[in-house]
């Protein structure tokens, strides 16, 4: 349970302060399943139109327009269609989906049911990150209640609409958050990405047309249906509809998750919600949307508004909403190393540049940070990162290369300060270890 902050606009998180929202009774007491009721009375096309009108863009990281994604699913299909919820939240710096899973699991269920109605699917799966074992129990409990009360299963609440829904756990692989790898994993195979095309809307889980959405995206659907797409869109700037959950971590006085309208100034997030920089230190860098996004220097970040287009304009991505604040006492070489340790550990190994490149960079950065750096390494690491970028099978390679390249670009001097024989200038003061739980 979290109490709302005065600057927050709670849409997805509107039940986060309601102690019993994770029970069916509590959910029903606060408008629960009213959106479903409304949606089932609408033609499927109208539901999709409403979602399109909301301007909702995927909250998992890529920011693809949700309504458009739903509209790609063919109306007629010889194979069964599916709705999948991507609850494999693994992006370092991101911890928002877990709150929805914990405080408002029925909102996810309701969002999936509405999606099922919209695309003509009758089966769904919620794929929950392996480390979120306790949330799997929470979701199983919610599903059992929903099933017992006739909100999941055959002929839902007498509407004639059937929808079966199951929760499934991952086994601790970041790659399984990639939508096609998630489907492989859910099918019981090794979690590696699939060739695209075909895209999931045409051939996804079990070869059937599939919509796969992030937890927050699906939880945004019921309020959109209840209040109308235009209502939701009005929260943010044009094409960046609505609110979203921002996860603030790093060197601020108060870390946390807050729901803010898109376009919210980053400076206000740090100062007003985060309570300012920790110990009054100077801001050095900001990771704007999870560890996969290029880092922004403090001066660029300071004037940034947090919406998809503004962040793209300064060369990064809004990503998953994981904002990591880095202060002046942080060694950026160590920061790059810590990020690369994560990606080397999480590369699935399928394609050559990602498998070999992340290991190369990780070993080089380790040596470099330990005082074994050669002058040639700086440009070599840049070139190795460039050779990964855009040449891998899936986006994991890009995710490893982009932050590294941004660090090499903006903090090149710190690398030169580390060259052979020199100890890390930040010494014991370095606090980069705060990034990522892996």
């Amino acid at each position: 349970m979290t109490t709302p902050h005065p600057l927050e606009t709670r849409v997805v998180s509107r039940r986060f302060d309601q102690p019993d929202a994770h029970t069916l009774a509590g959910y029903l007491a606060s408008d629960g399943f009213r959106a479903l009721e409304k949606a089932l009375a609408m033609a499927p096309d109208k539901v999709i139109e409403e979602v399109k009108a909301s301007g909702l863009r995927g909250r998992g990281g890529a920011g693809f327009p949700t309504g458009l994604k739903w509209s790609f699913v063919p109306k007629q299909s010889p194979r069964e269609k599916y709705v999948l919820c991507n609850a494999d939240e693994s992006e370092p710096g991101t911890c928002k989906d877990r709150l929805i899973l914990e405080y408002d699991p029925f909102a996810i269920i309701e969002g999936m049911l509405i999606c099922g109605h919209a695309i003509g699917a009758h089966r769904g799966y919620i794929y929950i990150r392996g480390e979120y074992r306790y949330l799997l129990d929470r979701m199983e409990q919610a599903l059992a209640e929903a099933r017992a009360a006739g909100y999941v299963g055959k002929n839902i609440r007498g509407s004639g609409f059937d929808f079966e829904l199951h929760a499934h756990t991952g086994a601790g692989a970041y790659e399984c958050g990639e939508e096609s790898a998630l489907m492989e994993s859910l099918e019981g195979k090794r979690g590696i990405p699939r060739l695209k095309p075909p895209f999931p809307a045409v051939s996804g889980f079990m070869g059937g047309p599939t919509v796969i959405n992030n937890v927050e995206t699906l939880a945004s659907i019921p309020p959109i249906l209840l209040n109308g797409g235009a209502w939701f869109a009005a929260f943010g700037p044009p094409k960046n509809g609505g609110t979203r959950l921002f996860c603030l971590s790093g060197h601020v006085e108060r870390q946390g998750v807050w729901e803010l309208p898109l376009g919210f100034p980053l400076r206000k997030l740090i100062e007003d919600l985060g309570g300012g920089m920790r110990n009054g230190a100077k801001l050095k860098a900001v990771v704007p949307g999870g560890s996969s996004t290029p880092l922004l220097p403090g001066n660029v970040a300071w004037d940034l508004n947090l919406d998809f287009d503004s962040v793209a304009k300064v060369g990064s991505f809004l990503g998953s909403g994981g904002v990591v604040v880095v202060d002046e006492n942080t060694c950026m070489v160590r920061f790059a190393l810590r990020i690369m340790q994560f990606y080397r550990h999480e590369s699935c190994g399928w394609c050559v540049p990602c498998r070999e490149g992340t290991q190369w960079l990780q070993t080089s950065l380790t040596r470099f940070h330990n005082g074994g750096g050669r002058a040639a390494d700086v440009d070599l690491m840049k070139e190795v990162s460039e050779n990964i970028l855009g040449r891998t099978f899936c986006a994991l390679g890009d995710a490893a290369a982009m932050p590294t390249l941004s660090i090499l670009q903006h903090w090149r001097q710190e690398f030169l300060d580390h060259l052979a024989g020199k100890p890390c200038p930040f010494g014991a003061r370095t606090t980069a270890g705060a990034v990522g739980a892996h």
Binding site: R344, S347, C351, W360, L380, F393
Partner: protein, 741 residues
């Protein structure tokens, strides 16, 4: 106007035209533009893992993998730009980061795709200065070794094993930099040991226990031979050093089998080096077989046979299903003209005379090549188990199932592995009755079923008792569906013969569309032996002998031995006493001459033994079970032994046939082309290895007075009649299995 089925694109400024649906990498290859790749392999699933084939395509922001992009009209591609070259160089650099540069001791050195590509596309110097990751080499089976650091994870082996062989013994474990290929059983493989994974490996990660560390590829001569085991006629390229055959593979994808070989074709050929190979003629003296000179042996045989001829004693001749066409033809000529005997036969494993009788009056359109199985819309397989007995046939059937959705109807008395690819599967107690039923005679009940499988039931299901009742219906459905097919290839083994074959052809001919036939016979030249007239009642080309002139068949000859009914028996490359044991006393009055590679059960009882060369050691032609004729080339040698052709010619000379002259396979081939109807094949095509089809359809073939039951070997994956027993590799695989039980 432009053909809508063709797509026009531009690659490096060059306009190309290819069929719609072609992959970009194949389109480039067809037009001589090399797009390098490791993980892409034709006819296996797409991986896009090695990132070697990245090219620039206009209107696409990122480089694209040519192995996954399907060509589209107006596509503009650049595979030769600075960006593309940089991408290739970097892909090679990444692959080499953890690849050991132990090329000087690696088996693949000199024929390694990574080596070639590094020379062509790679950097002159490595920039990776971190320590490489090392792992110890592992032995996974008697033939498969895995050197993990060398592996570049192209997943070709995984796909060749799974998709190609339907064995699925290789997989991928771990993730990231720790990802590795793993065998089916923790630390070892239990598979069909075909070795396709080894030959498809672009580097030296998978190496062969039968070949490793013996030589370098450039020290060998590479000779295109035809495998001497089953009747499918796979081409195997022999690696020969100093007259010794060190390996067989078909990496160059020449021949009717592409790069496929089974364990026998790839590793069974080490029988050529077996220490018990006969290298000197042997004659029985004082009850013991003792080495003698060739001159003595030939003179002895000629002298005894002349005496027997004078005394009007009967001479029997049993030929081989492994000797070459020229030798089989010469053997029947020797028997009929020099020995003057009609008692001639061979070990029969398929009823070719019945098939060609049933097909009398028809032409090439009624015969199927093995290749046709890859694209056939429907195949009916009656009897046999191609997976172990005809591995290429099975490979092609799986290919058709995978690439062309071939509907495979299996009619068998057992449960065979191809059931996994079957569209309909009927397991019947009596194949003859089932075939009769198919042909519309009798009731389904006369061919009781034990199971009919749907295609979805992939894993050899047991028939639940409750379903037995509908099995009868199953055979009706089986027949009804077959009758709706428009283009069927009927494949049958030696499990049916005589009237059953005629029933089957009658059924096939009753179908409305095109029907083609393929009979499966064991051993490399079983079809050649039949075509060349190693029959007591049929001359070459299935031409009947004059009425009343038919001799004794194989079983009649063997039955005559205890009654002292044969004064001499001449056995060439066969081992009849293995299946028909003969007591020493039964041979007291019979002069037994055996010509073979080893002291077989038959040779041990002989009075005279001629050491023969094996198929890999001589030149000539062989005919595979489907009738395709291919050249056999001399790969190795065996000091002291002679080819069967040469032995026959020398025997003829010793018998006083001066006109025969010296053995010359080319001259004999000319004689066959002139004399044997259906063998007037275009010489250029034949010698180029295009495997032209022999067409010995020469009218009705009368039924023999006495039917000789067929005796198929029913070989397993690791056995091949008598010959396979002398392969150290085949034996080691079987012993390895026994140890694990």
């Amino acid at each position: 106007m432009a053909d809508p089925a063709l797509v026009h694109l531009t690659v490096n400024g060059q306009p190309l035209q290819v069929p719609a649906g072609t992959l970009l990498i194949e389109a480039c290859k067809q037009h001589g533009i090399e797009v390098p790749s490791f993980c892409y392999y034709p006819n296996l699933s797409l991986q896009a893992a090695c990132r070697m084939c990245l090219v620039e395509i206009e209107k696409m922001p990122k480089l694209q993998t040519a192995c996954t992009v399907v060509v589209s009209e107006g596509m503009v591609v650049n595979s030769d730009s600075e960006t593309v070259h940089r991408a290739r160089k970097s892909a090679i650099e990444f692959i080499l980061t953890n690849h050991p540069l132990d090329c000087p001791v690696c088996d693949a050195g000199g024929e390694c795709e990574l080596q070639d590509m590094t020379f062509k596309y790679g950097a002159e110097q490595g920039r990776f200065v971190e320590p490489k990751r090392h792992r110890e080499e592992q032995q996974w089976s008697p033939v498969v070794y895995f050197d993990r650091p060398r592996c570049i994870l192209c997943y070709r082996c995984v796909r060749a094993c799974g998709e190609g062989m339907d064995v699925w013994a290789l997989g991928v474990a771990n993730r990231g930099i720790n990802a590795t290929i793993i065998p089916s059983h923790q630390d070892h493989l239990e598979c069909e040991e075909c070795g396709n994974c080894i030959d498809i490996c672009p580097v030296g990660a998978l190496t062969s226990g039968a070949y490793r560390y013996q030589t370098r590829p450039w020290e060998m001569q590479h000779v295109g031979a035809i495998c001497t085991f089953c009747g499918d006629g796979c081409k195997t390229t022999l690696g020969v050093r100093n007259g010794e055959i060190l390996r067989g593979d078909n990496r160059d994808k020449s021949g009717i089998n592409g790069d496929f070989l089974c364990i026998k074709g790839r590793y069974g050929l080490d029988f050529t080096r077996h220490p018990e190979r006969l290298k000197q003629p042997l004659a029985r003296r004082d009850g013991e077989l003792q080495p003698v000179s060739w001159g003595y042996a030939l003179e002895t045989a000629a002298k005894r046979w002349r005496e027997i001829q004078k005394a009007q004693g009967a001479i029997g001749v049993i030929g081989s299903t492994r000797i070459l066409n020229e030798e089989a033809y010469t053997l029947q000529k020797f028997a009929r003209q020099v020995l003057g005997t009609p008692h001639l036969d061979h070990h029969r494993t398929a009823d070719f005379p019945a098939l060609f009788d049933a097909l009398a009056g028809r032409g090439a359109e009624s015969l199927a090549r093995l290749d046709d199985l890859k694209t056939a819309p429907a195949v009916l397989l009656v009897g046999g188990d191609p997976t172990p007995q005809h591995p290429l046939t099975a490979w092609n059937l799986r290919w058709g199932y995978r690439q062309h959705k071939t509907r495979l109807y299996v009619l068998n008395s057992g449960d065979i592995k191809l059931r996994r690819q079957a569209y309909r599967y009927a397991q019947v107690a009596s194949l003859a009755a089932a075939v009769r039923y198919l042909n519309g005679e009798g009731e389904a009940q006369s061919a009781p079923l034990t199971g009919v499988a749907e295609p979805s039931e992939k894993r050899w299901p047991q028939t639940p008792a409750a379903e037995v009742a509908r099995l009868d219906e199953g055979l009706q459905d089986f027949r009804a569906r077959l009758r709706q097919e428009q283009d069927v290839i009927i494949v049958f083994s030696g499990d049916i013969a005589g009237d059953s074959v005629r029933d089957l052809v009658a059924f096939g001919n009753s179908l409305s569309g095109q029907t083609r036939y393929l009979a499966l016979a064991d051993n490399a030249n079983a079809r050649g032996a039949a075509d060349m007239g190693l029959y007591p009642d049929l001359l070459p080309g299935y031409v009947p002998v004059a009425a009343g002139q038919a001799g004794l068949n194989l079983e009649q000859m063997l039955a005559a031995l205890p009654r002292q009914g044969l004064a001499s028996l001449y056995v060439v490359g066969a081992n009849p006493f293995r299946s028909h044991p003969v007591a020493a006393g039964d041979l007291k009055q019979t002069f037994l001459v055996v010509q073979d590679l080893f002291l077989t059960e038959t040779a041990r009882q002989a009075d005279l033994v001629f050491p023969a060369l094996c198929a890999y050691e001589k030149a000539g032609t062989v005919t595979n079970t489907g009738g395709q004729v291919q050249p056999q080339r001399r790969g190795g040698g065996c000091e002291g032994a002679k080819s069967d052709l040469e032995i026959l010619h020398r025997l003829a000379a010793a018998m006083g046939e001066a006109a025969w002259g010296a053995a010359d396979p080319d001259r004999t081939l000319q004689e066959i082309r002139a004399q044997v109807k259906g063998y007037d094949l275009p010489l250029a095509k034949l010698l180029a290895g295009e495997a032209p089809l022999a067409l010995p359809l020469n009218g009705r073939v009368p039924r023999a007075a006495a039917d000789l039951p067929l005796r198929p070997h029913h070989d397993t994956l690791f056995t091949a009649g008598t010959l396979g027993r002398y392969s150290a590799t085949l034996n080691s695989v079987m012993e390895g299995r026994a140890d694990k039980r």
